[in-house]
């Protein structure tokens, strides 16, 4: 794959290899530290959550603000619109892919994101003794954190993963409730 010279102009960017391999190193480190796959899954989810909703944590910019500022997106009217924004704007902006939104539940409160390509898992093969690991589980936390920042509680989980031998990678997102009065302390 030839790297295009023109893409080097955005001063914010580092290379995709660096990103992908660094994520790999993070997962490997978590496995070293926590040993159990389900505990690693939990930690990845938590880290992703903090990316967007680091309320009370002094770890730099909340990505949600970055996202809202750069995308110029306003309020969504319903959950379907929210799903589209996540796929077409969110994933597009941060990962450069657009997952497909599909498998809506009858009540319209649950959908799936299907990913053909997953940049996080580009160079990855899961060893046999880690078959419980949801390698890209950080994405669940990211979605959960992003939606919580706009007052929406959701449940997000991996149902299929190409890394585990499934045909496609599928993330299931379920609406739980609207959060009222969720402004962080110290902000008006």
């Amino acid at each position: 794959m030839a790297r295009q010279g023109g893409r080097a102009t955005d001063p914010r960017k580092v290379s995709q290899e660096l990103f992908t391999l660094t994520y790999g190193a993070l997962v490997a480190q978590l496995i070293k530290d926590y040993e159990q796959d389900d505990e690693v899954n939990k930690q990845l989810d938590k880290i992703g959550f903090l990316f967007f909703a680091c309320r009370g944590y002094n770890i730099g910019v909340r990505l949600i603000e970055d996202f809202l500022a750069r995308s110029g997106i306003g309020r969504c009217n319903d959950f379907r619109e929210t799903a589209d924004v996540i796929a077409k704007n969110g994933f597009r902006m941060f990962l450069g892919i657009t997952p497909q939104v599909t498998n809506w539940s009858a009540a319209g409160d649950e959908f799936s994101l299907i990913m053909d390509a997953n940049p996080l898992a580009d160079f990855v093969e899961l060893p046999d003794d880690h078959n419980q690991l949801n390698y890209s589980n950080i994405l669940c936390g990211v979605i959960r954190g992003a939606l919580e920042s706009v007052q929406m509680a959701v449940d997000v989980r991996f149902v299929q993963d190409i890394l585990k031998g499934d045909n496609q990678t599928e993330i299931r997102v379920k609406f739980i409730k609207r959060l009222e009065d969720a402004l962080p302390a110290g902000e008006e």
């Binding site: 080097a8 580092v14 391999l21 790999g24």
Partner: protein, 131 residues
Amino acid sequence: MTNNIISKLEQMGCRVGQSLAERFTRDSPRFGSELDIIKFICKEFWVGTFKKQVDNLRTNHLGVYVILDSRFKLLTHMSAGEQYLESAPKYLAFTCGLVRGALASFGINSVVTAEVSTMPSCKFQISIPKT
């Protein structure tokens, strides 16, 4: 505790540096000398990783190399004042590991340290012990 975190970050960087170096050199011929390898780090490796070349390279020809990047990518997101100067080492441990890992994949053992005096400019010192 802090040291532990910094060494973990450094080791993560090392792992990534090794893989990156392997990827970037997939189609290149064998390097002739140590200096060639360092030059590769300054050019191809830095461009492939941070999308820019380093700004300056100096050496004492005794195994010590100093790389200067006057707008280091991983520091440009931070305020350029003195506010975060103190925490800069935490953000650079990973990169030190990156360079050490890359060199290790060419069979060079090294010690890499970083130094920031004004953000976002950064100096990396590579020491290669002579055997």
